[in-house]
């Protein structure tokens, strides 16, 4: 078999994607697909253009971004703090670990209706859902990470005359930062999942809300357009997170 040049993998993937789209479009135009279920790519494209041309998408995008990024930031901060405290204080670990383990085991999105009752259908309930998804992930990352800090690094710093603060600054903080950054992409995905599911459950704006609207009006073209949009948004954020990770973990 002839070996494929790996440099042009993207080109082959793109070509295959275009072929799939073309077949799909042709099948749609030949009335072989019911547009109610599988609208052709051109209709999806038109729906997407529509969303932006009259500008009504912006407040929805803003709502979803606010919820996701707010939950992400809060979740990272709280996850790190709880993880560090639990790793250093055995009593806190005893109390927190079972709770976190349960929260980790259940699909946390089932908490969405509860957050709506507690916090209303506004932004707060979406932030809360994104937050709980991210915080549990980060908690375990930091909690298990700190207990696995390389003992040799600690001994190295101690034998060079470093005090407790030196250990925190030169060993623990960089270790924690590297684990959190290593999980940043997953956390971003979780944050957007939380925001969109929250909006799906009960909201007045946001991409998730638009999705549920498209569902209730059986607007498949709009739904596809929204799925594409969410995909694009998450890919952009992934790219940014990846660059940040690459820069800050350049020693790795």
């Amino acid at each position: 078999m002839r070996r494929l040049d790996p440099r042009y993998a993207w080109l082959r993937q793109l070509a295959a994607f275009v072929v799939v789209l073309a077949v799909w479009e042709a099948a749609g135009r030949a009335h072989m697909l019911n547009p109610l279920y599988a609208p052709s790519p051109s209709r999806v494209g038109a729906a997407l253009v529509d969303l932006f041309s009259d500008g009504r998408i912006w407040p929805h995008l803003e709502a979803t971004f606010s919820a996701a990024l707010g939950g992400l930031a809060l979740g990272i901060v709280v996850g790190i703090v709880l993880g560090v405290v639990a790793a250093l204080v055995p009593f806190i670990a005893e109390l927190l670990e079972p709770v976190m383990t349960v929260l980790n085991a259940i699909p946390r999105v089932i908490l969405a209706p509860l957050f709506v009752i507690w916090l209303g259908i506004g932004l707060a309930s979406k932030v809360a859902l994104a937050f709980i998804l991210v915080a549990v992930l980060i908690f375990f990352t930091v909690f298990t990470g700190i207990r696995q800090v390389d003992r040799r690094l600690i001994e190295r710093v101690v034998t060079l005359g470093g005090d407790r603060w030196a250990l925190v600054r030169h060993v623990y903080l960089p270790s924690v930062a590297s684990w959190v950054l290593g999980n940043l992409k997953i956390a971003v995905g979780f944050a957007f999942t939380g925001a969109c599911v929250g909006e799906f459950v009960a909201a007045t704006e946001g991409l998730g809300y638009l999705l549920s609207f498209a569902q209730s009006t059986f607007n498949a073209a709009l739904m596809f357009a929204l799925i594409l949009l969410i995909l694009a948004v998450v890919l952009v954020i992934f790219g940014l997170a990846g660059r940040l990770e690459k820069h800050l973990l350049r020693w790795n």
Binding site: R156, V157, L160, G161, D163, H170, V171, W251
Partner: protein
């Protein structure tokens, strides 16, 4: 231990050689007895088998670390670190992260890190075991030259009898643990300055090696029978 002397500890595994070094530098408490030294904590340096450099710091920052812990201003510490890297043949590698250095280079950075602290006593726990033969010979040669020049006392723990004899002024044999103790003492009459490779051809080397080897084997057999 006299000032500037090079002393090696050899002995079977589990005789507590490493524990002894860790007790000297204060990483662990001796089970009994005390460590007596007229040196301050910062005058004692230690080098382990796996040199744990901080992976997120460049070679230069790693070397400067101990200096800043002891109150040196960062800028001065970095200049000092560069000087030490140069002394250890690592000029131009200061900006590299440990991951981008070879095993031998990492060992040299770890050495620079410890020597930059100007220790009066250097403890080494199988420091060269992870290096391949050629690299090892070169690093060992540089270490010997540096400790001779700065008249640093060295306490070396090793499994390698040749290494112990070719580098040391005195070799101590520890008995098999538990409750290991020093059983023999061998002064090595090879003159300084030494070349670690050529000191193996000194007429005193072979007989000493034979004796040390026989005593160590007896120590191991002795315990095997008792068990």
């Amino acid at each position: 231990m006299g000032e500037g002397s090079f002393v090696s500890l050899v002995g079977p595994s589990g005789s507590g050689k490493s524990s002894l070094l860790r007790a000297v530098i204060g990483l662990q408490q001796p089970l009994s007895g005390t460590v007596e030294t007229d040196l301050a904590r910062s005058q004692v340096g230690i080098l382990f088998q796996d040199d744990a450099l901080l992976p997120w710091k460049t070679a230069r920052d790693n070397v400067a670390l101990g200096l800043t812990f002891n109150g040196m201003e960062r800028r001065t510490a970095l200049a000092e670190a560069d000087a030490w890297l140069e002394r250890l043949d690592l000029a131009g590698f200061g900006d590299r992260f440990p991951r981008r250095l070879s095993g031998g280079q990492r060992k040299r950075v770890a050495l620079a890190q410890v020597l930059a602290m100007k220790p009066r006593l250097l403890l080494m726990d199988e420091p060269f075991a992870s290096l391949d033969a050629i690299v090892r010979a070169r690093v060992v040669k540089d270490v010997v030259a540096l400790v001779e020049r700065e008249s640093i006392s060295v306490l070396l723990v090793t499994h390698d009898l040749e290494e112990a004899l070719s580098l040391s002024d005195e070799v101590y044999l520890l008995s098999q643990g538990p409750r290991a103790r020093i059983t023999e003492h061998y002064p090595v009459p090879i003159p300084r300055p030494r070349d670690p490779v050529h000191s193996r051809t000194h007429p005193a080397f072979a007989p000493l090696y034979e004796r040390l080897w026989a005593d160590l084997s007896r120590e191991v057999d002795h315990r095997a029978e008792a068990a």
